[in-house]
């Protein structure tokens, strides 16, 4: 009996308790963040299996069934072309998540590289990059996005690029300040003392230790990116008809606001839920991964 217990104890001791595993353990403890993660997971499933879940095609029109109220057959009702809103909302998940995720990945990569270079090398490089960020942040972000789309031309892809660009300074500043503190840590001095090259120090030591704010900020930024994509879609600068983009659906529905409010409510609800999910998850991640950031 004693032997069994010893073995078990040994196994527990030998399990590598890495920083990520510890983070997950404390993430699990918060119900709210699990709910957020659940919502996000739900929309990811919708995005991946959308075409299999949706009862109708995205652009299947039936003019005999225009602006029908929600019913057993059309859960979310139909729009002015007689398209099933439920099917369109389900398909829209793919567009919104895709824009949110990729614009954030893009801006996180560009922002991180600029931020690391600025933070690690300092001096005039830092001055140039930081002032560039300041200039970009001086514009209201949606206005900057509109300007970028105006230059590139309205399309979903250009909206994605615009959103990525306006988010770059947020990531850049965040990682720059993190690098500034991490590079003074003694283990970085130790890495230099060992004889490491700058590039190895940057990517093997400084970057992994600066990752947590990026992951947290990234999750929260997906939420804002989804809103921004919807806003651009609403203004007609993002996804073009007949794509089932939620913001675009809102814009198309606004003339029927009083007559057929379900045309607006359900895409709006979808936007709200995804954004809420990412925000809750982001807050949970922040508490779990970076306890010092807790207010």
């Amino acid at each position: 009996m004693a032997e069994v217990i010893d073995l078990k104890k040994d196994a527990v001791q030998n399990r590598a308790a890495g920083p990520w595993r510890e983070g997950w353990r404390s993430f699990k403890k918060s119900k709210i963040s699990l709910i957020g993660a659940g919502i996000v997971l739900f929309f990811i499933v919708l995005a991946v299996y959308g075409p299999n879940i949706a009862p109708q095609g995205v652009n299947e029109q039936d003019f005999t069934k225009r602006l029908l109220a929600p019913s057993g057959q059309h859960w979310f009702g139909t729009d002015d072309f007689g398209r099933d809103i439920f099917s369109r909302v389900v398909h829209g998940a793919r567009i919104s998540l895709w824009v949110g995720l990729f614009s954030v990945i893009l801006s996180a990569i560009v922002g991180s590289v600029l931020g690391i270079v600025a933070g690690y090398y300092g001096k005039w490089i830092d001055t140039i990059i930081s002032r560039l960020f300041d200039i970009m942040l001086a514009f209201p972000s949606i206005l900057l996005a509109i300007a970028v789309v105006a230059v590139l031309g309205p399309s979903l892809q250009n909206a994605l690029i615009a959103i990525a660009i306006i988010n770059v300074p947020n990531f850049g500043r965040l990682i720059r300040s993190k690098v500034l503190s991490v590079k003074e840590e003694e283990y970085i001095v130790a890495a230099k003392a060992i004889g490491m090259r700058d590039i190895r120090i940057l990517f093997s030591h400084i970057l992994p230790n600066s990752m947590t704010p990026i992951i947290v900020q990234g999750t929260l930024a997906i939420a804002t990116a989804i809103i921004e994509a919807a806003a651009l879609g609403f203004l007609g600068l993002g996804a073009q008809a007949p794509a089932p983009e939620w913001g675009k659906m809102l814009a198309d529905a606004r003339i029927y606001l009083l007559k057929a409010p379900w045309t607006m409510i359900f895409p709006g609800l979808a936007i709200m839920l995804t954004v809420l999910g990412f925000n809750l998850m982001g807050d949970g991640l922040r508490d779990a991964l970076d306890p010092k950031m807790k207010s």
Binding site: A17, G18, Y187, I194, G195, P208
Partner: protein, 326 residues
């Protein structure tokens, strides 16, 4: 006579103080000011001084983690102070460092195995299997177990972490180890363990240590020779027994009389110095200790005392001993 492994001549590090809108340089912090000494192969040279006296800066200058403002550093016949960055990186294989804070000097996201293996990878030593073998070997040498290899630094106690730090410093088979306050962050009982480990390693691996500390007791225990620093300058340098038996510089005398003796009946003449350590950005003229020195003479405030060999192997920078030279 034993061989000189490291020779330091006229080492200086001034940090500029910039002020105002245009970042004009208004002065210097003289962190290390004209320090010279030799380190012999196989010995332990202790460097003591109050906090802020420049001893840690001196340690970092020797590894060129900071660029010296002036001065020569010669290691095993090679002028380290003139190497290019690339050559310096390679030279670091022979000079390693043990850090003060065992909680801060290990990357929290790397396992012990990775921390120890990295120096070998960086210097291209051995293949994967050989590296693994060496890691296990060193873990054992410093008194840790094989299964510790997969653990992260936060799962260890301070003493164990410092052992990891020591193992990391030994990975590349260095000849000189600069230990920057290696035990000051540890409990007294653990301090002894780590010091004994360092001494054992020195005997077995024929290491040379530069041991930087503010703890006179610890330095006495481990050092063959001791250098005393005050305000960026080396004021006294001699064999450990000499320094503790017969300190010459008034500052050293004051330092030693402040060491507590575990005997309530013990009474001694205490040399108490008054005042604070002056600012290194505006050091006193002449001898930098003259503002606090009980034996101050006229010339002390004007002439900077030179390091002179008062007795064989006993160097001191103080005007009180000027006559003995002549």
């Amino acid at each position: 006579m034993t061989k000189v492994l490291l020779r330091v001549e006229g080492l200086k590090k001034y940090f500029p103080i910039n002020k105002g809108v245009f970042n004009k340089q208004v002065g210097n912090v003289k962190a290390v000011d004209n320090v010279s000494f030799d380190v012999f192969e196989g010995e332990t040279l202790g460097i003591v001084g109050e906090s802020g006296c420049g001893k840690s800066t001196a340690g970092r200058l020797l590894m060129r983690l900071l660029e010296p403002t002036e001065g020569n550093i010669e290691f095993a016949g090679k002028k380290i102070s003139e190497l290019s960055n690339k050559e310096m990186r390679k030279a670091r294989r022979d000079i390693q460092m043990i850090f003060q804070d065992p909680y801060a000097s290990l990357n929290p996201r790397h396992t012990v195995g990775k921390i120890l293996e990295e120096p070998l990878i960086v210097h291209g030593m051995g293949n994967s299997a050989e590296r693994k073998k060496k890691v296990l070997e060193l873990l054992q040498i410093v008194g840790l177990n094989e299964y510790h290899i997969k653990r992260y630094p936060h799962q260890f106690s301070g003493g164990q972490r410092q052992r990891i730090g020591i193992a990391r410093a030994l990975m590349t088979n260095p000849r000189l180890i600069i230990a920057d306050e290696p035990v000051s962050a540890l409990d007294v009982s653990i301090q002894a363990q780590v010091l004994n480990l360092m001494q054992k390693l020195q005997r077995e691996l024929k290491l040379t240590y530069i041991f930087i500390s503010h703890d006179l007791g610890v330095v006495r225990h481990i050092s063959n020779r001791v250098g005393v620093m005050y305000l960026g300058k080396l004021v006294e340098l001699t064999a450990s027994e000499d320094l503790y038996a017969e300190p010459l510089h008034p500052y050293t005398q004051a330092l030693l009389s402040s060491v507590p003796v575990p005997d309530p009946a013990f009474e001694r003449e205490q040399l108490i110095i008054s005042g604070d350590i002056p600012s290194a950005s505006n050091p006193p003229s002449g001898c930098s200790f003259h503002t606090r020195c009980p034996f101050k003479k006229e010339e002390c405030s004007t002439v900077i005392p030179k390091m002179q060999e008062v007795k064989p192997g006993h160097y001191v920078a103080c005007h009180l001993y000027d006559e003995m030279q002549h």
